[in-house]
Amino acid sequence: MKPTTRRLLAWLMASSFLFLVPFPAIAAEVLVHGAASEARSMDPYFHSETPTNSMNLNMHDCLVQFDAELKTVPALAESWENPDNLTWIFHLRKGVTFHDGTSFTARDVKFSIDRCRTWVKSGFKSTTAQITSVDIIDEHTVKITTKKPFGILHRKLAQVMILSKKFVEAHGDEYIADHANGTGPYKLKEWIKGDHITLVANEHHWRGVPTLKKVIVRPLTNDATRTAALLSGEVHVIDDLPVRDVNRIKANDKVELASRPSLRLIYLQMDHDRARSPKAKGPDGKNPLMDARVRRAIYMGIDEEAIAKHVMNGFAVPAGQFYPSAVYGYDDAIKRPAYDPEKARALLKEAGYPDGFELTIDSPNDRYVNDEKIAQAIAASLSRIGIKCRVNALPKKTFFPMTDRRETSFFLIGWACADGDGSSFLDGITHTYDKDKGYGRYNRGRYSNQRVDELIEAASGTVNQKERLDCMLRAQRTALMEDQNIIPLHYQVDLYAKAKNLNWTPRADHYLRYFDMSLAR
């Protein structure tokens, strides 16, 4: 070929080798995290959602902290006590500084909690709704008063990050949306929106200097890209691994799966109080779900092991109660009964339905993992014990208002006790619906048992944790084992994938705390 063409070709080939330089190895003190969603704001109160909270909890601390199993441990408060049912005294840690060097005092605590409660754009108003006042006793002591006895105030305070009063007042809301000044183990070095957030270790952190000196969080929202980034070694850990990529992770010898049951229970709610129910009809037209034997028959007639194995690909833990073991109120003694279609059929016959009845199961189709498929599997299970079950799956925008309007008889839904305490399930779903007292807001089946109500109210009427636990355990046993108020299905499993040299196990609340991670060489 012509000399110019030859020269051109040679030049092209030579310059292409520039690009085949292999990736520089990431230093063992730098972690790269491929996140499924990006944090919304560096202002911790602006929006309460998992990615934002997870990011901000690395830069800020709260008075109390959750460990990986959601037990409360002291953080910025070393200890606390209740002189009476409505008062909490917190003793603050001394010698703590914010990233800009200023000292942490009671003034910052009062400012932070008040901003949480009163700032118009605060996404944490309901978290602090029970607090009537925060009083400064001295530089390192704070007194918090609640409207009514509130046994889980310390759990709520584990979600309120403490800001520096001087910093926020000097710079304003817009500035702190981009800049963080907390007491946490990491400082914000750089945030290029959509590209990455760089955190550097806080050398003066009160718990000690973090092992990982630098953390880069890259939002990789596309599932395929996120998995590819882990497989090619560009990131060390990814969250929300799609189930279809599990085999590819297993096939690669540099990465591995990390999973744990999440807080979310997927369960079935039923119509307890209407003899004429829209979507549950026995041969005489009456609602069969009002009979506890029918409910128990359905419970035993659902093959949950098969659902966990085939519908959820093994990534679900069959459940026997309202919440998983990480939640305060979990009862070790309760076990899920085995799948027993014969016994289920016998119970139905005893209740007066030897030939079963008609039922429609309502379910969202875009809210929980494989929600519609689970509903279909349940319908198949129930048809084997004689219940003719139809599936009605709807988008969440339509589904939830429909359940609020009580146009359902039998539906699939989920719940996560985000505070790590069973009271949210008991107060919101198990207690009789009582708009004035604020109970049973999500008790769409209108289950009602006065004994259970008394136990639940006793638990929320005291700050003595042992008393609360005792009442909660008894309430759950009565509601679940005697009355079968709901039918638990399974706990969803959080799936992550990480490089083999990353030392880390997932937390119950889906947050990533870089302080607890380290990289082996």
């Binding site: 809301d173 590209d195 590819a228």
Partner: protein, 321 residues
């Protein structure tokens, strides 16, 4: 010339006004953003307080009036989702999208014009057949599939190129750019190629068709008879004549890429405007969507204006009126 300029500017203002009104009405009718901003446990009172604070409880025309007044002052509003000025959010991301779009277009033009010309001048060569089949594939393959395939091949299998992100960037004249650094350049290749392949295919076909038509014209025969070298006839005279449709398409497509590189940006986690806009639409973040569409409209208008200017250089018979 001045008269022409003034006319164009007035036209642009009218376009922007219409766009802003249509978008405003659509966003207003598409739903209530306040419900999405507060957690589900928020009380009615809290929701109303936030709605009033954001000014969303006033009638639509009053809100539109306030929007126009603020826009003339240069304030395009604060994002509901991020609590930051909308225009700041977009301007932060424009350099990334522009870098991607311009690189993709430059690659497409630099490879497409020679390829198209070769295919027209040597139609029976095997390389021409390869080029034409390749261009057919390029037009047919969907962008999201192509992007993911490139990532699979070059990042996961071969490990030659990074799969996502922008890499190292430097700030040049206030703009954050990646291509001055080697690392940034490596991150730019795959996303730019993903976009470029379609544009390349388009340009190849246009150039080939134009070239084949021009070759048959009298003036080419005349120039050859005059004794000019084939090189000069093709590269100077013929090329100028076929560039008008090419420039038109390049202009239109450039605007398109800038506005709608969303799919590529999502696949490669490229921090451009596209992802911001999709999130804003889902989250009913009206200030950001409005600001984005106004800026994009402005860009389209500007690009088309440049295209019209370029015409006058290509064809002296065209007068701007």
């Amino acid at each position: 010339m001045l008269g022409y300029l003034i006319k164009r500017i007035l036209q642009s203002v009218l376009v922007l006004f219409c766009v802003s009104f249509v978008v405003f009405v659509i966003m207003y009718l598409s739903g209530d953003p306040v419900e999405l901003l507060l957690p589900p446990e928020a009380t009615e009172k809290q929701v109303e307080a936030l709605r009033h604070h954001l000014g969303l409880d006033r009638p639509m025309l009053v809100q539109y009036g306030a929007f126009l007044r603020n826009t003339l002052k240069g304030d395009l509003g604060k994002s509901f989702l991020f609590n930051q000025p909308a225009i700041g959010l977009i301007v932060e991301r424009i350099p990334a999208t522009l870098e991607l779009a311009v690189t993709a277009m430059v690659l497409a033009v630099l490879m497409g014009i020679p390829a198209g010309m070769y295919a027209a001048l040597r139609p029976r060569a095997w390389l021409s057949k390869v080029i034409m089949s390749g261009s057919l594939l390029g037009i047919s393959l969907p962008v999201f599939w192509l992007g993911i395939m490139l990532v699979m091949l070059f990042s996961v299998l071969l490990g030659w190129l990074p799969s996502s992100g922008r890499g190292e960037t430097v700030v040049v004249a206030g703009l954050r750019l990646g291509f001055p650094t080697l690392d940034g350049l490596r991150h730019l290749i795959l996303p730019a190629m993903t976009i470029a392949i379609f544009q390349l295919a388009l340009i190849i076909r246009l150039v080939r068709a134009g070239m084949m038509e021009v070759q048959l014209q009298d003036f080419v025969k005349f120039l050859k008879a005059k004794g000019l070298s084939e090189k000069r006839v093709i590269f100077v005279h013929a090329l100028k004549n076929i560039l008008i449709p090419v420039v038109t398409i390049v202009g239109l497509q450039l605007g398109n890429i800038i506005a709608f590189a969303i799919v590529t940006e999502t696949i490669f986690s490229w921090p451009g405007m596209g992802k911001l806009v999709i999130d804003s639409i889902h989250g009913l973040d009206r200030p950001v969507v409005l600001a984005y569409l106004l800026i994009v409209s402005l860009m389209f208008v500007f690009i088309n204006f440049m295209v019209d200017i370029v015409y006058t250089f290509l064809d002296p018979r065209i007068r701007l009126k």
